[in-house]
């Protein structure tokens, strides 16, 4: 759209932006993975990375090992630890937290991503520590089954992994420092109940993992996330975004087709959704045929001609 409107100008007036800067500088951004040394109040943490040092302090704080430290040092350490923690929702409570990781599969990257596993009374989260980012999460009411699964590591030893089966049929593999403990807690916290529909939300016709090829200035990017198809629209949301990056009213969906070649979910996994305006959106599914069926049957009949 061409416009003669004048562009909005950004501000960095300190009175307006200081809170944002404090948040950026203390919590996020500006994170370099420096294995540098911070000497805390004459206790030299020599040869220890900042990340490791802070992780160590976390443990020490938990076990009260820092009570002999002076108050100021303790307060600093507590602040450093707090900024690495999971952002809780209103009323959400952490049941357990331990070192762990999530096995990323299906995409270009395949491998374990280490972090901290949080079990709250609402969800199961794997949080990367630095920079802080949710690597994977699932609502507890979407968890259908949890089981321990032995796996042989490259080093030849066997470790227990936690296999989490989700309502949409996906199975995710997590590692955890104490897999049995986590398994017990998860089983007891009632994972496996059927999800109640949120009040007033349109019921889903289909729901599941889907890749979306997000158009970007620097070239399109395949992103993994959850798709939700209702009687009126298709939405797709990445777990790292607050809201869906794709909202397609079904009245706008003119045609659903398959694209030849490879997608992130393998050969022939790519679907092309043509909009009424002639735009093409690309998504990829592990079960493309099923999504074509769902989308075709949800599409308004009038548009089918």
């Amino acid at each position: 759209m061409v416009s003669d409107r004048s562009p909005m100008r950004p501000t960095r007036e300190p009175r307006v932006t200081l809170d944002d800067l404090v948040e950026v500088l203390l919590n996020k951004g500006a994170v370099l993975h420096l294995d540098l040394i911070v000497a805390v109040a004459d206790i030299p943490l020599i040869g220890v990375s900042v990340r490791a040092a802070v992780a160590g302090m976390e443990t020490m704080l938990e076990y009260g090992m820092m009570r002999h430290w002076d108050e100021a040092t303790r307060a600093w350490a507590e602040r450093s630890v707090a900024r690495r923690a999971l952002d809780l929702r209103e009323g959400e409570r952490v049941l357990s937290r331990m070192a762990g990781g999530h096995l990323l599969t299906g995409g270009v990257y395949h491998g374990w991503r280490p972090g901290t596993v949080y079990l709250t009374d609402q969800r199961l989260v794997v949080l990367r520590d630095e920079p802080r980012e949710i690597l994977w999460q699932a609502e507890l009411d979407a968890v259908r089954q949890v089981r321990l699964k032995p796996e042989r590591t490259v080093g030849g030893e066997e470790r227990l992994r936690l296999e989490v089966a989700l309502a949409d049929g996906r199975r995710e593999l997590l590692s955890a420092r104490e897999p049995e403990t986590l398994h017990d807690l998860l089983s007891r916290s009632g994972a496996g109940r059927l999800a109640p529909t949120a009040a007033g939300e349109e019921p889903a016709v289909a729901e599941g993992h889907l890749w979306y090829e997000e158009p970007r200035r620097s070239g399109p990017l395949w992103r993994g996330g959850r798709a939700r198809l209702t009687a009126s629209r298709l939405t797709w949301k990445s777990p790292v975004d607050a809201r869906p990056a794709l909202v397609l009213p079904l009245t706008d969906l003119a045609e659903v087709g398959r694209a030849p070649g490879y997608g992130p979910a393998g050969e022939g996994s790519v679907l092309v959704l043509r909009t009424g305006a002639g735009d093409e959106l690309r998504v990829a599914a592990d079960d493309p045929a099923r999504w074509v069926r769902w989308l075709e049957s949800a599409r308004p009949v009038a548009a089918a001609g």
Binding site: D20, V22, L26, A30, A245
Partner: protein, 266 residues
């Protein structure tokens, strides 16, 4: 009395000898550059005692403002730098007799390829912050008239229930609208920005958060982002838009940790 045997590190930048001239940092300390021979990288530092800066919130806020101002000034001179977070200190190591400067230099030499690549990738780019929310009252007005009917004859309990249901309907309608607006705005912003990090939404009580993100933008495209926002505002006056920056690329300065593997868990 503790001696200034450590370095407080503000940023890493391409070597340029005069970039820190006249710039002061925390509590007015003069900043200087530490060049790392064998690399094209210098570090922006001041000498400090080997202990973190700590104090009450107001003091920390003041320091943050000072750090940001110093880093921004140097960034505008060099066009590229990797800003550090608050309280990054390198101490000397009495055990091996290495000074803080030597240790920092060693670290930078080890990471030089990564650092130089990052500096090149971020050259000429800035960070912008965009916060967009929907004024819920204004949306409720558009969502259609409230059910007609004389509520005055109803019991107070019934009226409360109806009011609650109405509020829930408004919230749901605003949420659905916010989803649609978010998808559209995200697409438009990504057509001009090079990268976007969702920051999670934090709407006020009377608003519904639409999008909160840090953008990585070429300096010459700042106005293009501004145009996306002013057009969005014109199309929908109920949007509340905050547009902050340009800042050094705080949220995009990141050096991939090497070999982060499952071993970290074992």
């Amino acid at each position: 009395m503790t001696q200034d045997t450590a370095l407080y590190v503000y940023a890493l930048l391409p070597g340029r000898p005069d970039a820190a001239d006249g710039v002061t940092g925390l509590d007015g300390r003069p900043l200087r550059l530490v060049a790392v021979p064998g690399t094209g990288v210098t570090a922006l530092v001041h000498d400090a005692a080997p202990e973190p800066f700590q104090g009450d919130d107001d003091r920390v806020r003041r320091w943050v403002a000072q750090q940001s101002e110093a880093v921004t000034t140097v960034w505008e001179r060099t066009g590229s730098l990797l800003p550090m977070t608050f309280n990054v200190l390198v101490a000397d190591d009495p055990a091996t007799g290495r000074s803080a400067e030597q240790r920092l230099g060693e670290w930078i030499r080890e990471q030089a390829d990564d650092v130089e690549n990052q500096l090149r990738a971020l050259a000429g780019r800035c960070e912008l912050r965009v916060e967009i929310a929907l004024d819920r009252a204004a949306v409720a007005g558009q969502a259609g008239p409230a059910e007609a009917g004389d509520e005055t004859r109803l019991s107070p309990g019934m009226r409360r229930l109806l009011a609650k249901q109405r509020e829930q309907r408004e919230k749901n309608a605003a949420g659905r609208l916010a989803d649609t607006l978010h998808a559209d705005l995200r697409r438009r912003l990504l057509s001009v920005a090079e990268d976007l990090r969702d920051r999670g939404t934090t709407g006020g009580a009377d608003e519904t958060a639409v999008l909160s993100a840090s953008l990585l933008v070429r300096q010459e495209d700042v106005d293009a982002v501004g145009l996306v926002l002013s057009e969005a505002q014109a199309r929908r006056p109920a949007l509340r838009i905050r547009f902050l920056g340009p800042w050094p690329p705080y949220s995009f300065a990141e050096i991939r940790p090497r070999e982060q593997t499952e071993n970290a868990v074992s």
